[in-house]
Amino acid sequence: MNFPLSIESINLTKRFGDFTAVDSISFQVKKGEIFGFLGANGAGKTTAMRMLSGLSKPTSGSAVVAGYNLEFQSEKIKQNIGYMSQKFSLYEDLKVKENIRFYGGIYGLTDQQIKEKSEFMLHQLNLGGSANTMVRSLPLGWRQKLAFSVAMLHDPSVIFLDEPTGGVDPVTRREFWQLIYSAADRGTTVFVTTHYMDEAEYCDRVSIMVDGRIEALDTPVNLVNTYKVKTMADVFVKLARKATRGE
């Protein structure tokens, strides 16, 4: 294999009673790849993501994430991945630098490392003047960029992003994607979900889940060609319309 794998999922399945939320999904994500994980509401994305990040035990199937086996080494996985979502990311009633300090502590960074990382991060995000600002008072876009950088604090080899740009203004959304590109360029694997179909085009490869199964997986260009449509939005609508189940 030319590229080391960051994620390998083999027949990963999750059932809740007689409901199969995730139905035997298999795929591989290469190191440094930006992998778009798409699907309609209720297709099973969140459940799959919770399994891959070690938060939920699969009913059957297996996966290797960041070099660790999901079944036996889920704690190791948690140490080696980053996670951010639109809903929860930072503590609003802590200052910017306190959030960095807090997460640095959780990931076992030394005081010296935290100090260096903080300076680098605040500089990169142009947030130097806001170190003592309450996160609550930051504009949403800045907050999301900060949350991303905090999730990257411990240099994880894989980062999971669950709708990271929801509601963010278009300029900041692009700046956010530039952070993603730059992280991937440095070798971090990015696993991202989004409802913005233009963002699906920014991914190296994209999978589309329908009713718990991966219905399509390829580069955006190939998907558009395969389904003989113009954009990823068309591909998505074409596939997701087949869904028979709700949320």
């Binding site: 509401n41 209720g42 929801g166 203004d169 360029d185 233009d198």
Partner: protein, 307 residues
């Protein structure tokens, strides 16, 4: 008396955040015409929800006046509440009541019934009817949204306020929802709808682009894109990230940002393109393509933000 269904005249509203005051909307004015779908397009925190709450009489502005069908939102709130429908951004139906219980509850509040206004809601109701015994809290996102729309319509309002009805909803449900709104327009209901998805702007008759409590522009979607001031080009190559960085460094490039399959590049003049292509080739770009880009509302929004 104003004849327009919605008149917003110099509205401002601020909230205390800690010791500071944050302006949610600053001196905003606009008019919505009868039967229009009027879009408020902007990111979170732009002030969209404050405007909705003022117009639906739930919030009193610091300054300015607002009217719905000629009624003042502060003095005549009682009248306004009878003639408007409001679908708030956060799902606000009774999760423990079933679909039909929610509907009959809201109908009773307005002294009406589902049967009385059936022709108005039947297209939407047909889609949720199979789940009428199900509790609202157990519905899927798309179904919740349709039930909320149904409840907001149950008293046959003249003006319908929809605050981010499609946020967090997947692309398929979003398309279906807009089809429903278009159909409602035939019933001569005026609609004000907000969205953070710029691609939905083109589905409105007129839109206001809103950011940080200020209106950046108000016009038809077509006019807004026609007004785009600079040449816009769409570039692509084998190495998209490097292409982005290379383009952003160039002097004759005003702005460059990822846009779907391409990078959109805003230039001073079209004549710069051949020179830019040469420079990019010299930097090792392969399979380089440049074509005139199609200006979208999002490009216009970003241009306004750069000002």
């Amino acid at each position: 008396m104003h004849k327009s269904p919605i008149v917003v005249d110099g509205i401002s509203k601020s909230y205390p955040v800690g010791k500071e005051k944050v302006n949610a909307v600053t001196n905003i004015s606009f008019i919505v015409n009868p039967g229009e779908i009027f879009g408020l397009i902007g990111p979170d925190g732009a002030g969209k929800t404050s405007l909705f709450r003022i117009l639906t009489t739930l919030l009193i502005p610091d300054n300015g006046n607002a009217y719905v069908e000629g009624f003042n939102t502060v003095n005549d709130y009682h009248e306004i509440r009878k003639i408007v429908g409001y679908m708030p951004g956060r799902f606000s139906l009774y999760q423990d009541l079933s679909v039909e219980e929610n509907l009959s509850f809201f109908a009773t509040l307005f002294n009406t019934s589902l049967e009385e206004n059936y022709d108005l809601v039947k297209d939407i109701y047909n889609q949720i009817e199979p789940f009428k015994k199900r509790r609202a809290g157990k519905l899927s996102g798309g179904m919740k949204q349709k039930l909320a729309l149904c409840c907001a319509l149950i008293h046959r309002p003249h003006v319908l306020f929809l605050d981010e009805p499609t946020t967090g909803v997947d692309a398929v449900s979003r398309t279906e929802f807009w089809t429903l709104l278009r159909k409602l327009q035939d019933q001569s209901i005026t609609m004000m709808v907000s969205t953070p998805y710029m691609d939905e702007a083109s589905l409105c008759d007129r839109v206001a682009l809103i950011q940080n409590g200020n209106i950046l522009d108000i016009d038809t979607p077509k006019e807004i894109t026609n007004k785009f001031e600079n040449p816009l080009w769409a570039f692509r190559s084998d190495q998209m990230y490097k292409l982005l960085l290379d383009l952003q460094q160039m002097d004759n490039v005003i702005a460059c940002y990822p846009f779907g399959q391409h990078h959109h590049v805003v230039l001073h003049q079209d004549q710069d393109v051949p020179e830019i292509l040469d420079q990019l080739k010299a930097k090792g770009q392969t399979n380089l393509k440049a074509e005139p880009g199609i200006v979208t509302i999002e490009d216009c929004f970003m241009q306004q933000m750069r000002k």
